[in-house]
């Protein structure tokens, strides 16, 4: 089968790989019909995530058709159209039975500090991902769900991670009625978080980025007030000014480990790997929120130490809420919102790229060319 393969930082190609096989009685093999490149895939692509091995296939956002199931699978059969959450989880450990699917203890031998994801390095379990024609899906009775008949495939694809994560990020903000919410990052997750903040009763939603085309999307798609931080001497001061010098009630970091805005942080973190990425957005979130406010973090960070302004968070009495999103826990409510027309996930998809051109897809997305917000990958077998 054809699959995207990592060849080292900034380099990927399509290779002929062996078909995945059932390795556990509750495995399924899924023929991928659509996949997406996630902003967090770029951390792997840039060589930022420890134990990213040459030969790995990335991709934790995908949907497809069941090709084969293991002998203990009860809920799926070949031919079913399924959406697969980015998290791999057993459904039975201490964490899973309490709803923390992203923190499962039974699927990642490589680390206890993170659960398992498809195609996201050996640090998250060493599973191949869905930017391929076929993929192995463990715990087929737990993770995948049938795609509802009424749901568009691209909407289902967005539910597998980006939409669920953005919606989860707004929840982590503990938003109260008429709160002022500032969202750092107008990428897919930031856009969804901004849109979700309204559902939770926000009174103002402010979105910050440095790419005008993404800020335009934040205005159109998420009804947000927008700020290009390159136009301000200090975006934190601007946030203070625009909230009457109080600060926002809630700040959401939807950027993660490769934030721009501070050359030194960015180069030492993402280029030289002297720290676990660049925590500029998180530091801005900590400094922009009001005292006693809440900072939500679901932008992706790796396991290596970061230069984070923890003292400010302490001295301001902030609540820091964070986690990788347990995707499937969000789905029933997200399905309602999509059906009601409150959320229109596929509106942010800008590029549809054949799998054989995935190297260009990564470059366009990574370098933010051609007004790229969300690229979708179409495998040839689909």
């Amino acid at each position: 089968m054809e699959a995207m393969v990592y060849r080292g930082p900034y380099k990927v190609r399509v290779e002929e790989k062996e078909m995945p096989r059932l390795e556990h009685p509750n495995d399924a093999i899924i023929r991928v019909t659509l996949a997406a490149i996630c902003g967090s895939d770029l951390h792997l692509y840039h060589g930022l995530m420890p134990d990213t091995r040459v030969g790995t296939t990335f991709g934790h956002e995908f949907i497809g058709v069941v090709e084969e199931v293991g002998p203990s699978v009860q809920n799926l059969k070949p031919g079913d159209r399924v959406m697969v959450p980015a998290n791999i989880y057993c459904g039975s450990c201490w964490f899973c039975v309490r709803g923390l699917y992203s923190n499962c203890h039974n699927v990642n031998p490589n680390a206890t500090a993170v659960g398992a994801l498809y195609g996201y390095s050996h640090t998250t379990g060493g599973y191949d991902g869905g930017q391929a024609e076929y993929v192995r899906v463990p715990f087929a009775d737990v993770g995948p769900s049938l795609i509802p008949d009424w749901m568009a495939e691209e909407d289902a694809l967005m539910c597998t991670d980006a939409l669920a994560t953005g919606y989860f990020g707004a929840q982590l903000g503990d938003i109260k009625e008429r709160d002022t919410v500032v969202v750092f990052g107008a990428g897919p997750v930031g856009l969804y978080a901004a849109k979700s903040a309204w559902l939770m009763g926000a009174g103002r939603v402010l979105v910050i980025d440095h790419l005008d085309y993404r800020l335009e999307k934040a205005r159109d798609f998420a009804h947000a007030e927008t700020y290009n931080f390159t136009e301000y001497d200090d975006i934190v001061v601007q946030m203070k000014k625009d909230t009457g010098y109080l600060g926002a009630d809630v700040a959401i970091d939807a950027v993660g480990a490769e934030a721009d805005g501070n050359f030194l942080q960015h180069v030492t973190g993402t280029k030289l790997k002297l720290q676990g990425g660049s925590a500029v957005a998180l530091n801005w979130a900590i400094d922009s929120v009001r005292k006693g406010g809440t900072v939500s973090v679901m932008g992706a960070y790796g396991p290596i130490f970061n230069a984070v302004k923890f003292g400010d968070a302490l001295n301001k009495g902030l609540t820091l809420n964070m986690n990788q999103c347990p995707m499937k826990r969000q789905w029933p409510r997200l399905f309602e919102h999509i059906r009601n027309g409150y959320l229109t996930p596929s509106d942010i998809i800008t590029h549809r790229i054949p799998l054989e051109h995935i190297a260009e897809g990564y470059h366009i997305f990574s370098s933010k060319l051609d007004n790229c917000i969300k690229p979708v990958i179409v495998p040839s077998a689909s």
Partner: protein, 190 residues
């Protein structure tokens, strides 16, 4: 503007927001949100029909964190350990917990060794690495790389020039090593 007990910036009313934003307030009740509270004990919800999953067969010695008591019942088999990078990774897993910087820094160093080794060994295959096609850099011409960057002020332009150096460095180093080796051989023969 004095600092008082009230929000200094006027916020629209709920009615105004409802009229302007589709779905505003649909999840207004903080207790009626999917991930609230964070911990919700419900073993029936996940679809698991086991107390502990069957064990996946361990077909090769699978590395694991020493913070785990055992090999997890299910694990990925994408790329087994091999070569010098494999030995480094094995050391990181066997010797250092996730709490130690050494664990992660050795893994990160192994990634660089892995990538460099893969480039070098690819030269002896029918499909050597091609930095032009594998970086997707030709898309710069197809989708207007220059105009994409010139259209507005962007904070990432000030460091994107470093990327070609990062990509090219292994090739330059490998070329330099080959050149130095050949030169040393030639000099020895003279």
């Amino acid at each position: 503007m004095a600092y008082t007990a009230y929000n200094p910036v006027p916020i629209p009313t709920a009615e105004e927001l409802k009229a302007r934003i589709p779905g505003w307030g649909a999840d207004l009740n903080p207790l009626d949100r999917p991930s609230v509270p964070k911990l919700q004990f419900d073993p029936e919800r996940t679809g698991a029909h086991w107390d502990f999953p069957d064990r996946q067969e361990e077909t090769y010695p699978r590395e694991r964190s020493i913070e785990h008591k055992m090999l997890t019942p299910v694990f990925g088999t994408a790329v087994p350990l091999k070569g010098v990078s494999g030995a480094m990774r094995r050391l990181a897993y066997k010797r250092y917990s996730e709490a130690r910087a050494a664990h992660w820094l050795i893994l990160l160093a192994a990634d660089r060794v892995d990538a460099f080794g893969a480039h070098v060994t690819s030269l002896a295959t029918v499909r050597p690495d091609n930095p032009v096609t594998e970086t997707g850099v030709l898309s710069e011409f197809r989708v207007g790389g220059l105009s994409s960057r010139a259209r507005s002020r962007r904070a990432d332009v000030n460091h994107q020039w470093i990327d070609p150096i990062l990509v090219g460095a292994p090739w330059i180093l490998a070329g330099g090593a080959v050149f130095a080796g050949v030169r040393a051989l030639v000099r020895r023969r003279r």
